[in-house]
Structures are given as C-alpha cells and as structure tokens.
C-alpha cells in the first residue's frame, strides 16, 4: 500500500488517505481480504492524527470498500465485480468532466478535444 500526503493539496487529509486507498482497491493493487494497518499504526506512519485516520477508514467503510472486523481490524471488502467496474467508470467520468470543463473554459471545441484524446489513447498503447 502506498499513501502520500500533500500539505499543498486542497483536499482534506482524511480524503487524501481514503482516495488513495480506494484507488488501490479499484486498480487491484489491494485485493479482497487484504488487511489494512490499524488506525493508530497508520496515523503514526503518515504522521497524521488518529481522528483523521479514523475518518478516512469510516468513509471507506461507508462506501463499501473495507470491512471492520471487531477486534481484528480492517480488511478490504469483497468487491462486487459489476460495482467495481462501475466505480472505475465513474472515476474516469469524473476526470473527463474536469477535462470538458477545462476545454470549455479555454475555448477548445469537441472535435479538437476528441483528436487530442485519440492521439493520447494511441500513444499509451
């Protein structure tokens, strides 16, 4: 698991943590059943507060990404494949909507944007 906290980010710290764990679950770097560090251990490692870490885990639990097993800690929850796919698509959709709003702001039209996307897509192989 990899988590990097940025002080310059506008996102609150709990959100930076939950987003990064979520991304690693969606990408498959973290698998179903994988144990997560305890709240206090993670707080210490990231040098953030216990309450902040707790909130990050609570968010993940609410969204169904992790389960808390009393006395044993937190684990990556069983992921519904359909749901996971949907979540992946949603992530991309969010990024794309940022791109669309930027494009509109900067006066780039749909055709130009599409061209840009197709070049990038093919470059990535």
């Amino acid at each position: 698991m990899k988590i990097i906290i940025s002080n310059a980010s506008q996102d609150p710290i709990y959100e930076q943590v939950s987003k990064q764990i979520k991304a690693q679950i969606i990408s498959g770097e973290l698998n179903e059943g994988d144990p997560l560090p305890s709240i206090r251990k993670l707080a210490k490692e990231l040098q953030i507060s216990v309450i902040t870490t707790k909130r990050a885990y609570e968010e993940l639990e609410k969204e169904g990404f992790i389960d808390t097993v009393g006395g044993k800690g937190c684990f990556v929850a069983m992921q519904n494949k359909e749901l996971l796919k949907e979540k992946k698509m949603k992530t991309i959709e969010e990024h794309l909507s940022d791109v669309v709003s930027d494009a509109k702001k900067l006066g780039v039209n749909f055709k130009e944007l599409k061209e840009m996307l197709s070049i990038l897509f093919n470059e990535e192989g």
Binding site: Q10, Y14, Q47, S49, V50, T52
Partner: protein
C-alpha cells in the same frame, strides 16, 4: 469513549489577569493541543490541573475523579513536563532520577535508560551545566518513564531544535499506539502539533475561543484574500481578524461556506493553519 480529563467552568483570578469559565475535556486515547499566544492562560490552566495553584471556581476531574481529593493517586498516573523544569542544579541526572523515581510505583528503569540513551543525556554531569534543551529532554525522559496514562506537557518544545521536536512527535505517536494513553500538549509553536493533534483547545486572553476536533477547526477556518472593494460592514461580519494592505486584504473566517456563498469567485480561499488562526484571532481581540 470516556474522558480522562474534564474541566468545567474553571476560574482563576489574579486581579490583572483572569482565567475565566474554562471548560473542555479530553477523551481517552487522544492528543489535545492547548494553543494560544504567550500570556493567554495555557500555563495557568495546566498549573490548575496539576493543583500547583488554587482555583477560584469550577471543577477538574482526571480519570473521572476530583483532582484534589484523589491527588496522589491521580498524579502517579500523570507524566508531567513543566515549561521550566526546576531540578536541583547541583545534582546530576542520575541523582535527580533517584529522588523522583520512588514517588512512582510504576517507575521503569529500563525505559528511563533507553530514553537517556536516545536523547544522549549525560548521567553524571550536574544539571547546572545542562543546556535548556538538555533539561527539557531530561524532564521528558522522566515523564515518560513511569507508564503514565496521561501525559501533560507545558511548552515541552520550547528551547528544543526542530530535529528533537520531530523526534518528540515520534515518541508521542509511539505512545498513542496504546489506546489507553492520552496527551495534553500546550504550545505556542502550533506547527509542532498541527498534524498529530486530535483536538485543539485555543485559549486567548484567559478565555476559550474553541475546543474541538482539529479537523473541524481546519475545515471551518480559512484565510480569505481579495481586493479592498469587497470590504464593507456586511462582509466584515464574516471575518475574525483582518490585515489590510495597499493592494488588498487578508482575513480569517470561521465559516468558509458562508463566505463562498457571499463572495463567491472574487476571492482566494486558502487553508488556514493553526498559526494563522492564532494570529488573526489575537488581532481581533486587540483591535475590535
């Protein structure tokens, strides 16, 4: 979740300075930063908690018990670092330790040795020849050597270099791995506790400005920057302290959502640090 420390309507009147109606509590297993500028009442509050001075009103409960009636029992479970440790200067650290250790039934010589080693403190040099940093480190080593459940530190980082200040934070994180341990940490160097603190209590002029979860503080407060044309009686109500320059203004708000609605995109909203909050709040106090 119960409170290890519960302070209600605490009052201390010195005539020229009054600590007034101080109430806050610290839940078990967490760390609270007690912040405020010099002279705000941090040390007075801590002295009252430790029963080093007499209160004029209010109540203090530690581990659920009245702090004076159960003083001996309570204090054996507190690790205390005073901002100006007063040890016998003609003694060395080993001798000082030999005097203090018997007061604690859970004194742990091995931990003490480990910390002395870690902090590179000489055991045989008399304390008069210690630097301020070394005295602070000695006090911290002693406070952490008797398995205390509550650590109370008054300005423990003053006189310490940034390297040791960070090492101290590591020690505190280590301590907090045990969810039965709690810490009250007073400081005016807010960057020391900005990350580790779960709760922040902000004292100014003898009064509590807020005592709440740090995340909540950092979410509600923000620094607003914009052109002077935005300033009027209406908008000024949103601000807690303001700095006006020739080219614009900078102000602290404790309700960032309201500001967004009112001033929208004409302003820059920056995260406020605890230091910003302290600085701007203090300004309002004096120039309101």
């Amino acid at each position: 979740m119960h409170n290890v420390l519960e302070i209600k309507n605490l009052r201390k009147d010195y005539g020229d300075f009054c600590l007034d109606d101080i109430s806050f509590s610290l839940p078990e297993g967490f760390i609270m930063g007690l912040i405020g500028p010099n002279g705000a009442g941090k040390t007075t509050t801590i002295k009252l908690i430790m029963n080093l001075i007499m209160k004029n009103g209010g109540s203090i409960k530690i581990f659920g018990k009245e702090h004076i009636a159960h003083e001996v029992e309570i204090k054996s479970r507190i690790g205390f670092v005073y901002d100006n440790p007063n040890y016998y200067e003609h003694l060395n650290l080993r001798q000082v330790k030999n005097i203090i250790a018997p007061f604690y039934k859970d004194w742990d010589e091995a931990i003490f040795r480990e910390l002395v080693d870690k902090f590179q403190l000489p055991l045989k040099k008399i304390l008069k020849k210690f630097s301020r940093g070394m005295v602070m480190k000695s006090a911290i080593a002693i406070a952490l050597s008797h398995h205390a459940d509550l650590i109370i530190m008054d300005e423990p980082t003053s006189g310490l270099d940034p390297i040791f200040r960070r090492e101290l934070l590591d020690l505190l994180y280590e301590l907090l791995q045990n969810e039965k341990k709690s810490i009250l940490f007073s400081t005016h160097i807010t960057s020391d506790i900005e990350r580790i603190a779960d709760y922040i209590t902000f004292i100014l002029g003898g009064k509590i400005i807020f005592s709440t979860r740090k995340d909540e503080v950092l979410e509600n407060y923000a620094i607003i920057k914009g052109g002077k044309e935005l300033l009027n009686e209406e908008t000024k109500r949103f601000f807690r302290g303001m700095r006006i320059s020739e080219y614009g203004f900078e102000a602290l708000t404790d309700n960032v959502d309201n500001i967004k609605k009112a001033l929208g995109s004409d302003i820059v909203i920056d995260k406020a640090t605890l230091e910003d909050i302290m600085y701007f709040s203090n300004m309002k106090d004096h120039h309101a």
